[in-house]
Amino acid sequence: MKDVIVRAEKISKIYKLPGEQIAAVKDIDLDIYAGDFISIMGPSGSGKTTLLDLIGCLTSATGGRLTVMGRDVSGAGESCLVKVRRQFLGFVFQDFLLIPSLTVVENVLLSLYFSRQHQDKKRAINVLNLVGLGQRLNHLPAQLSGGEKQRVAIARAIITNPKLLLADEPTGNLDSRASQEVFDLFKQLNEKEGLAVVVVTHNPELGNQAGRVIKLKDGRLAA
C-alpha cells in the first residue's frame, strides 16, 4: 500500500463572473501516491493550470474535498495553505520566475529561507550539482539560458525535500532538446529520489513518457 500524498474528491473551481459561471475544474477525483509520475494533458482552457493550482494549494476549491498528506485543506485560508506548500510541495513554472536580483545559489537558498529551514549552502550546492549547474553558482539568472534557468527553478523547488513536485508547462519556453533534458531530470528525480511529480504539458511526446497520463476536457477528466 503506497502513501497517498494528495486526494481530491469531486473537486471543483467555479469562477462566478457577472452573468455567467465558468467551471474551470468540475468534479474531479484524483489520488496522487508517493512515487507517482503523472502528466496532465488537454486542450487550452481545459482546466489543467487550475487543477494544478488546486492540488498545489495555491488557490482554494469552490467545491469538493482536498486532502494533502492526510490534512483536509478544502476551505482553508492562505495562512494554512502556505504551511502546506512549505512542507510538502515544490513548484516549477513555464517562465522559470527566478528572482532576478539574486544569484543562482541565492535563489535556491531563498526557498530554504521561506520554508524555515536551515540555509545550508552545501545542500544548495549539492542540489545544483544534481541538476547540472554546480559551476554557475554565482551567476545571475539573466546570464543563463532558458534550459539552465529551468534547472535552477527545479533545484529551488526540490531543495526543501517536498513530497510532490508540480510543474505547469515547464518546457513551454524551451526547445525540444532542452525540453527532453528537463523531462529526463524529472524522471531521474522520480526514480532515484522517489519524488512524486505532476507535469502539465501540451507535448504528447513528453507527456506520454509519464507513468500515468490524465486527460482533461472542459474542466472534467476525459476518459
Partner: protein, 394 residues
C-alpha cells in the same frame, strides 16, 4: 538570506531609481539637520555675544526696544541720546558694581573698504569700559594719555583694515581734528574688534554732542537684583533700561518667524520625501507582482513579504538619512553664510552648530519615515494572492 538582504539586493537592481529616492530623503533630512543646527548655533552664539558685553543692563534713551537691542550688539545709526547727569545718578547707587558710559557714532567713510565706502564705528569710552571687559587686551600700545586726549584705540580688525599702528594718524571723515593711534587691541572675537575707541570727552567734542551718551552699561554686584534695580530707574525721565535677558528674548523673537518658516519647509520636505518613497516602493511592488507570487508559492508568508518590502523602504530612508546628515555637516559653512545674509542680526561665531544628538535624531526620524512610508506598499504586497500574482501580466 533574510528580509533585509533580499530587500537590499532588490534595491540594487534599479540603481538610478533608488539613488533618486535616497536623494529625496537626504535633502529633507539635510534641511531638518541644518535647521536644528541653526537653532542651536544661533542661540549659542547670541548668548556668547551677550556674555561678552560684560554688563547686565544697558540704560539707553527711550525708544524702540528692538532698536535698543540691536544697538547694544551691533551699534549703528538712528541713535538717540541721553543726558550724562543721569549716568552720574546711577553710578552713585550702592547696588552698582561697575558702570561705563558710552557714546557711539558711526561715520560713513567714502574711502573705506578699499574705496567702496563703509561705516566706521566710533565709541567714546572711559577706562571703566576695560574693567567691564577684562578680556580686552592690548596688542600694541596702551590707554589714552588723558581723559580728553586726541587719541584713539583701535579694535583688532579696524587696525588691520586701516593698517594702523600706535603713533599713526587717523582721520575721521567730516572732522577737522587729526587723532593719533595710542593703542591697538588684540582680537576678542566680538563686535569690539571692528570699533575705533576714543576718550568719551573727545568723542562728545568732535561729534558735537556735549554732555550726551548713547548708553550706559551697568554690572550689578548681585545679578538677582536686576528686577529691583530696573524698577528703581522707572522714575528717571527719558531713559529705558534693557536687561540682557530681554535683549536675548527680543532678538530670538525676531528670528522666531524665520525659524517657524524654515521648520515648515523641513516638514513639507519630509512629507514630500515620504510620499516619494511610498510611491517608488509601490511601483516596484507592482512591477514584482509575479516574483511576490512565486515567493508565496515557495512558502513565504504574508508577513515574510511584508518584511521584505518594509526593509526596502527602511534601507532607502536610512541611507537617505545618512546622506542628509553628511550633506548638512559638510554644507554647514555655506548654510551659515546664506543665513547670515538674511538675518536682521547675526551674532559672531558658529551660526550653524550641528550637535551629535541632531545626527541621531535625524537618523531616527529617517527610519521612522521609512517605517511609515513602507507600511502601505508592504501591506499591498503581503496581501497579494499567489495564483493571481503569478498569473498577473500573462
Amino acid at each position: 538570506m533574510n528580509a533585509i538582504t533580499i530587500g537590499f539586493k532588490n534595491l540594487t537592481r534599479k540603481k538610478i531609481r533608488t539613488t533618486l529616492t535616497v536623494a529625496g530623503i537626504a535633502l529633507a533630512v539635510a534641511v531638518l539637520v541644518s535647521l536644528l543646527g541653526f537653532d542651536a548655533g544661533y542661540q549659542k552664539s547670541l548668548s556668547g555675544d551677550i556674555d561678552k558685553l560684560g554688563y547686565h543692563l544697558l540704560v539707553t534713551a527711550k525708544g524702540c526696544p528692538y532698536e535698543a537691542a540691536t544697538l547694544i550688539l551691533k551699534g549703528g545709526g538712528g541713535l538717540r541720546y541721553m543726558e550724562e547727569n543721569i549716568f552720574k545718578r546711577i553710578a552713585s547707587d550702592p547696588r552698582v558694581d561697575k558702570i561705563t558710559p558710552q557714546l557711539m557714532n558711526s561715520v560713513y567713510n567714502q574711502e573705506g573698504a578699499g574705496g567702496k565706502g563703509a561705516f566706521a564705528m566710533y565709541v567714546g569710552i572711559e577706562h571703566s569700559y576695560l574693567e567691564l571687559k577684562p578680556w580686552l587686551k592690548f596688542r600694541w600700545g596702551g590707554w589714552f594719555s588723558g581723559s580728553a586726549a586726541d587719541e584713539v584705540i583701535m579694535g583688532y580688525e579696524a587696525a588691520e583694515v586701516e593698517q594702523r599702528k600706535p603713533g599713526d594718524k587717523v582721520f575721521v571723515p567730516g572732522v577737522s581734528k587729526v587723532l593719533t593711534v595710542k593703542g591697538v587691541l588684540k582680537r576678542s572675537g566680538t563686535q569690539d574688534d571692528g570699533v575705533i575707541f576714543l576718550p568719551l570727552a573727545t568723542a562728545q567734542n568732535i561729534f558735537e554732542l556735549p554732555g550726551k551718551l548713547t548708553g550706559v552699561g551697568v554690572k550689578l554686584k548681585d545679578i538677582g537684583q536686576i528686577a529691583d534695580f530696573e524698577e528703581s530707574l522707572y522714575n528717571e525721565p527719558g531713559i529705558q533700561v534693557v536687561s540682557l535677558a530681554e535683549v536675548r528674548g527680543t532678538i530670538l523673537n525676531l528670528v522666531a518667524s524665520a525659524r517657524a518658516m524654515a521648520g515648515s519647509v523641513a516638514l513639507i520636505a519630509i512629507f514630500v520625501a515620504l510620499i516619494g518613497v511610498t510611491n517608488t516602493i509601490l511601483v516596484s511592488v507592482f512591477e514584482r507582482t509575479r516574483e511576490i507570487g512565486v515567493m508565496k508559492a515557495l512558502g513565504a508568508s504574508s508577513f515574510d513579504v511584508f518584511k521584505i518590502v518594509w526593509s526596502e523602504t527602511v534601507i532607502v530612508c536610512a541611507l537617505g538619512g545618512l546622506a542628509g546628515v553628511i550633506l548638512a555637516i559638510s554644507g554647514s559653512g555655506l548654510t551659515a553664510k546664506v543665513i547670515r545674509g538674511m538675518l536682521p542680526y547675526a551674532p559672531q561665531g558658529e551660526l550653524v552648530l550641528i550637535k551629535g544628538e541632531f545626527v541621531w535624531m535625524a537618523l531616527l526620524a529617517a527610519i521612522v519615515v521609512g517605517l511609515i512610508a513602507g507600511t502601505y506598499p508592504a501591506w499591498r504586497a503581503s496581501r497579494m494572492k499567489p495564483v493571481e500574482a503569478i498569473r498577473a501580466g500573462e
